[in-house]
């Protein structure tokens, strides 16, 4: 039913191949478009699900973001990295969805364990691994309770491994602000974990 994503470190691709793919996709090569879609859909989905906590909403947002990505391909500077640009689109789509949802009083908020329910459960493993998985679940449960602007910066840095300048681009903030905002968010996450009875 589901797949596991490769480790974060394995997701990166060289800027050269990225740039070449963008050029080919612009020239109308369907294979290049499909390769781009396969390469970036997964991180886009993960960001969406980490922000929304709901698989179906995250798939819709990812789909819209990928379509937007291909529509605006002509205006993209191929010397820049694709991921921060795509993440900016995903973030905007997520915010659009929230705005629309706020107009519908019938829509319920995601439940508190929505993010943890998306985590892949570990197989039979030593006790130490189980403790680590328990900490992961507590972290994402606490993350679920953070305000969106705190959660997104932690997710961008600690899960997606974006550099500070890429985070600044995605969030539309000065690079000098990234470190202080990230630290404030990490502090708040730690406080939530402690509130939940867990010392990180």
């Amino acid at each position: 039913m589901v797949e596991r994503q490769p480790p974060v470190a394995a997701r990166g691709d060289t800027a050269e191949s990225e740039s070449a793919l963008i050029d080919l996709a612009r020239a109308g090569h369907t294979d290049a478009r499909e390769t781009l879609a396969q390469r970036y859909r997964q991180p886009a989905y993960l960001l969406a699900v980490q922000m929304l906590g709901n698989r179906d909403d995250a798939m819709d947002v990812t789909q819209d973001a990928m379509l937007r990505f291909f529509t605006t391909l002509d205006s993209f500077d191929s010397e820049r990295r694709v991921q921060p640009w795509l993440f900016t689109i995903v973030r905007n789509q997520v915010r659009d969805l929230w705005r629309r949802r706020r107009r519908r009083p019938g829509d319920s908020a995601p439940d508190a364990d929505s993010l943890t329910s998306q985590l892949v459960a570990p197989g039979p493993s030593p006790e130490a691994d189980l403790r680590r998985q328990q900490l992961r679940e507590e972290v994402w449960r606490a993350m679920d309770k953070l305000p969106a602007e705190k959660r997104e910066i932690i997710v961008l840095r600690d899960f997606h491994d974006l550099a500070y300048n890429d985070i600044a681009q995605v969030l539309g903030i000065p690079i000098g602000t990234v470190m202080s905002r990230l630290h404030g968010a990490r502090r708040q996450l730690r406080a939530r974990l402690e509130e939940g009875g867990r010392h990180a």
Binding site: V2, M66, L119, R132, V139, A163, H183
Partner: protein, 147 residues
Amino acid sequence: MPDACGRTFDEAFLSGYLDQALVQGDEQRVRVHLEDCVSCRALLEDLASVRDATMSSTFDIPRDDEWSEAPRTGTSRLLRGLGWPLVTAWIVVVIGFGLWETWQDADNLFERLLLVGGLSGVSLLLISAFLDRRHAMQTDRYREVRK
């Protein structure tokens, strides 16, 4: 920015240190401070532990074939492009012929009025649906997006 523990830098530098995002001078300042400050060391260890848990998490993801925007093949697009106009033309011809035959076979004015009235009602409903659809398409922000 002096602190109770004697720190001479902003606490956010601890996150910068953790992420290896500080310039050399700042990184050295933080490292030297950490050697003597138990509370900052404990905070850094906490932050590192939470970051490692976040970083090593694995989420369920949809399979490739669950994404509906996967491009259709060229042949499929061509056949679909030909199919819809043919089906539309067939519907128009069949309905038109049926209506013409019914009109011809109608014996009196009442039957003809019944036919015209029903036809007019259906036409108005279709026009209304068409106008709504056209308005929705014109205001769709993603109308230029190609699937």
